[in-house]
Assembly symmetry: C2
Homo-oligomer: 235 residues x 2
DNA sequence: CGTAGGGTTGAGGTTAATCAAGTATGGTGG
DNA sequence: CCACCATACTTGATTAACCTCAACCCTACG
């Protein structure tokens, strides 16, 4: 791990820019920078395999990563899509010799910062602030997963799709009102897996909403035409 | 919070018996005992409501608690069933003024130890060991949830049922072989909600497995008749 | 004895997966 | 510039899973 001073300072700066580390002390950041390694992945490249031990956890600097599970028959369901600035595989580092609960692939060329398990746990034990951040991050994921389990078994594909659009609008800070156009951030095949269904069904569901006059569809651009009815569908 | 010395020592002893706190220092346990409160719930009583702020988190001493979500139409899906010795609502305490992701009810008369949010977070910040335990606990839940999302969208009710039996046998340390009888720990209505379905479908699914000669059904006692075929169904 | 709660059974309908074929679309090489 | 191909997406017909509603059974219990 002999790195130039320049590279090391660069790493510290990068780490400090992540919300997860934003209010750590300078010395803590420096120690983390010591153990951090940059890892890059090509589009489509596999990062983690369900059932195998993860060696550490990752921060995503640029790109996009899907976290997914495969059924025995090979069908995939996407649990999360990781955006730059967020971390993934946090939970894995707490399973000694145990298996990763899901797989991960890069959806695009992706650049990550990797922290080896054991050394990161040492840091966690030294820094309460870091541990608290980690707890917050895992709590967030737990909340997301609870939402997913709820919507999966309790809603139709139509409902899940509408919910996805509402959430997408909110995370982009665009109002969910008539006339707003939302551009999908992923291909429709990926979106289908994200919603726990298949492309055919997603296609039909979009068409159904279009026929009902609730949305307009033009490729990856969806226009909200009747926000009232859409929101009513969620309850 | 004026409690007799007896009561306080009793609380410390109880806390130390939970795996979550087992290797904390005596002084840490004592501080936790200071802020802990015993809360009891009658069978069927509500403990937490989805969408409302949780005031703290809970350890379950005796009884059984279901964590669940309700669909807009009022159908319930059980996310977890908490057994004595385990904690719940950990994640909630990290959401400032924010909403609990799920609801909780006592399935039986249940006795819990409750920790108020703010004071518990103070303790977390003082004790790395405690924070690490908390991280481990949340990681475990994340893993369970990932399993659930996977199985929900990727399997049939039949598959989920068989998987449930395999897991149940494992957690009870009984071998999953022909002739073994497993007694369900919950009513069939609750089990149905646990599997993300309804009692009618569960009933039919049990019958189907019975007709195929894979299991024997006698009330809440299920006997494994063809473990090979059952395990094959999971792949 | 009557009622309530938990569980089962049946008929019918809806949702969504499967299989199979068709339509863009965007490179790539000739 | 066009033919070619791969990939992404759409459409249609069929089938399987499972939910809904309604009735019924059974045991416990006042």
């Amino acid at each position: 791990m002999r790195l130039g001073k320049k590279s090391s300072q660069d790493m510290e700066k990068s780490l400090a820019s992540f919300p997860m580390f934003s209010d750590l002390e300078k010395a803590e950041i420096a120690r983390l920078a010591e153990i951090a390694v940059r890892l890059s992945f090509a589009k489509g490249q596999n990062i983690l395999v369900e059932g195998y031990e993860a060696l550490g956890f990752y921060l995503l600097e640029t790109g996009r990563v899907k976290i997914y599970k495969l059924s025995p028959e090979g069908k995939e369901h996407i649990l999360h899509i990781i955006e730059p600035g967020f971390s993934f595989a946090e939970a894995c580092i707490f399973f000694e010799h145990q298996e990763c609960p899901a797989s991960a692939d890069a959806l695009e060329e992706s650049h990550t910062i990797f922290f080896p398990k054991d050394r990161f746990i040492q840091e966690l034990q030294r820094s309460t602030a870091l541990a608290m951040r980690m707890l917050g991050s895992m709590a967030r994921y737990l909340q997301l997963m609870a939402e997913q389990v709820g919507s999966l078994s309790l809603s139709t594909v139509e409902g899940r799709l509408v919910n996805y659009l509402v959430v997408l609008a909110r995370t982009r800070n665009v109002p969910f009102v008539d006339g707003t156009t939302i551009t999908l951030d992923v291909g429709k095949g990926v979106l289908a897996a994200r919603l726990g269904t298949i492309p055919e069904t997603l296609s039909r569901t979009l068409k159904k909403l279009q026929d009902k006059g609730l949305i307009g569809v033009d490729g990856s651009n969806l226009t909200i035409l009747n926000s009232r009815s859409l929101l009513d569908m969620l309850e």
